[in-house]
């Protein structure tokens, strides 16, 4: 960093740093380190924690339920990451050509779910999906698709997509907005040149728009993948991981082990695996998804 004109005595710098850093250390970083330590112990929350080394991690990776949770999480990524990404790009490419006011109006509507509390969205969708009086099944019956009016959140096969669609609904407008600014960042003369060369709309999209949107694709992937790994609120309020583990994800499992079964060491181990997974995926996306401007 270049020296700023304000730079001077290092002692007085701490006056600015300490209030924020101390609070952060006490209530975020300290607990993160403590979680790491806790994951190496066996602890019921009452007695003295017992050191077990990597025992919790060994147990976890021979635990079928943990694998179920990981597999569900991987499947949910289709709904958290892939669908919003694809829909977002496609919509941005369509909306981009429209007049400013119409663009703004569409953006306002499509973005709306993203500002809502996911816990409350879960409760709302549990009502929409309700098999007895939920509007969703009433709609299906009204249009003659009564055969498909399933008990969505109680059906072992359909519950994961049913929850996943809510995540897609939550994220796709957000993705569109990010891609829309990405497209506006692209030099318009590139599109003009493509038109002069007689490139079709499809070719222009795949050869110009898409490659130049790589920085945005990377950001969207990062944010949605992390959101899918930490998913808790939405699933907790809709299904609590059920029926029969069909929507169990690591953070729900962590909650069950910790706050329902008082196995805090094992729960902390799941939390740490989740954090490591986040770091690993973050790193992988930074390395694999190329971008023109390094950031």
């Amino acid at each position: 960093m270049k020296r700023s004109p304000l730079d001077g005595s290092e002692h007085t710098s701490w006056i600015y740093l300490l209030p924020g850093l101390l609070l952060y250390a006490a209530f975020v970083f300290g607990p993160i380190v403590a979680a790491l330590g806790l994951s190496l112990t066996s602890w019921d929350g009452l007695t003295v924690p017992k050191w077990v080394g990597l025992g919790n991690y060994v147990d976890l990776f021979s635990d079928d339920r943990f694998y179920i949770a990981l597999r569900n999480n991987a499947e949910l990524m289709i709904f958290y990451c892939v669908l919003p990404l694809v829909l977002g790009i496609a919509l941005a490419a369509c909306v981009w050509n429209l007049k400013q006011r119409e663009q703004l109006a569409l953006r306002t509507f499509l973005f709306l779910p993203y500002i809502m509390p996911t816990a409350v969205l879960g409760i709302i969708w549990a009502w929409l999906y309700n098999p007895a009086f939920g509007p969703f099944n009433q709609f299906l019956r009204a249009v003659g698709l009564g055969a498909f009016a399933l008990p969505w959140l109680g059906d072992f096969d359909f519950v994961l997509p049913a929850v996943g669609i809510v995540a897609t609904w939550y994220f796709f407008g957000f993705c569109m907005v990010i891609f829309l600014t990405g497209i506006q960042r692209i030099d318009p003369s590139l599109f003009d040149a493509a038109k002069v060369d007689g490139a079709s709309a499809r070719k222009t999209f795949f050869w110009i728009t898409l490659p130049l949107l790589m920085p945005e694709i990377r950001v969207v992937l990062l944010l949605t993948v992390i959101a899918s790994i930490k998913s808790f609120d939405l699933i907790f309020t809709m299904t609590r991981g059920g029926p029969a583990n069909a929507t169990l994800v690591p953070n729900i499992y962590m909650y069950q082990l910790g706050f329902e079964l008082n196995r805090f060491g094992a729960a902390a181990a799941i939390a740490i695996v989740g954090a490591l997974l986040t770091f690993a995926i973050n790193y992988a996306i930074h390395r694999l998804v190329g971008s023109q401007n390094k950031g």
Binding site: M1, S4, P5, L6, D7, E10, T12, W14, Y16, L17, P19, G20, L21, L23, A26, F27, V28, G30, P31, A35, L38, L91, C94, N97, L98, A105, F109, L110, L112, I115, P117, T118, A119, V120, I123, I124, W125, W127, P135, F139, I178, G182, A201, P215, E216, L223, I226, I229, K230, F232, D233, T237, G258, F259, A271, G274, A275, T278, F279, N282
Partner: protein
């Protein structure tokens, strides 16, 4: 492909699809609003049927009998100090990271970014026991203090990068005039940071209003629950009374929708600027 001749037809069908999608996207909210003014008898006539006349008493029920008055008040009591303290502390630490040198600068910055990536789920158990040790479970402090701490990394990085964009000349001139650091922060930097501070406050308001895990774990007394929590426990008591339940949901999301509609441009500009940096 002769694109020019196809454009009107193509865009029209595109536009119809886009508007249909926009309509489907907000349908859950429209249904919520519609159901919240129905009577229980109206609900039995079907989800899409209109009520004979609006039943605003559902809101009264949710507000007083459903304790939403308490939850709403708690959300306000929590959001204001979290936003104010986070912006204030973000200004101080952001100022230090933007302009000052100090030992372990890079390490401290790295430690801050860890806090931005690790979700609260990962450290909620130690945090719960820390709060219990401090005797803060079931207090406003249990909900307020950790959320200030959790927002420090974002506030710091957001404001530091905004401060770094200020031209050096302004600061140099102030230093030449003999102004001290704190004076420069107060009289020169902060006035220029007002747009960045208001964008930050907007993000923090929405995140804090929506926070679920922290109050869920650290508070179990109804008197301290914020709106999203209140909604969950309210659902447990009122599952059969859909109109009052939906009225409660409207009370939770109405302030968000209002804020979003008023500050939409600022919100989206801040979001996309942050996302592509």
């Amino acid at each position: 492909m002769s694109r020019s001749s196809n454009i009107p037809a193509a865009t029209l069908s595109f536009r119809i699809i886009l508007w249909l999608l926009a309509f489907v996207t907000i349908t859950p909210f429209l249904l919520l609003l519609l159901t919240s003014i129905k009577s229980k008898a109206d609900v039995l006539k079907g989800a899409f049927a209109l009520p004979a006349y609006p039943h605003f008493e559902n809101y009264v029920d949710a507000w007083s009998a459903g304790h939403f008055n308490i939850y709403f008040w708690n959300s306000i009591i929590v959001v204001i100090p979290v936003v104010a303290a986070s912006v204030f502390l973000g200004l101080l630490t952001g100022f230090a990271f933007a302009y000052l040198s100090f030992p372990l600068r890079r390490t401290l910055f790295g430690i801050l970014t860890i806090g931005m990536m690790v979700p609260a789920e990962a450290f909620i158990i130690p945090l719960y026991y820390e709060m219990r040790y401090l005797g803060l479970i079931n207090t406003y402090a249990a909900v307020i203090v950790p959320q200030i701490a959790m927002s420090i990394p974002f506030s710091t990085i957001f404001l530091a990068s905004a401060m770094q964009q200020l031209p050096d000349e302004i600061l140099e001139a102030a230093v030449l005039d003999g102004a001290g650091r704190f004076y420069i922060l107060r009289k020169i930097v902060i006035p220029l940071m007002v747009p960045a501070m208001s964008t930050l406050a907007l993000f923090l308001f929405i995140w804090t209003w929506n926070e679920f895990l922290i109050p869920f774990i650290l508070v179990n007394d109804d008197a301290y629950r914020t709106l999203p929590l209140g909604m969950l426990f309210f659902q447990g008591r009122y599952t059969v009374n859909t109109p009052v339940l939906t009225a409660g949901a409207v009370i939770v999301i109405a302030p968000l929708i209002l804020t979003y509609l008023v500050f939409q441009r600022r919100f989206i500009a801040g979001l996309t600027a942050g996302a592509t940096k």
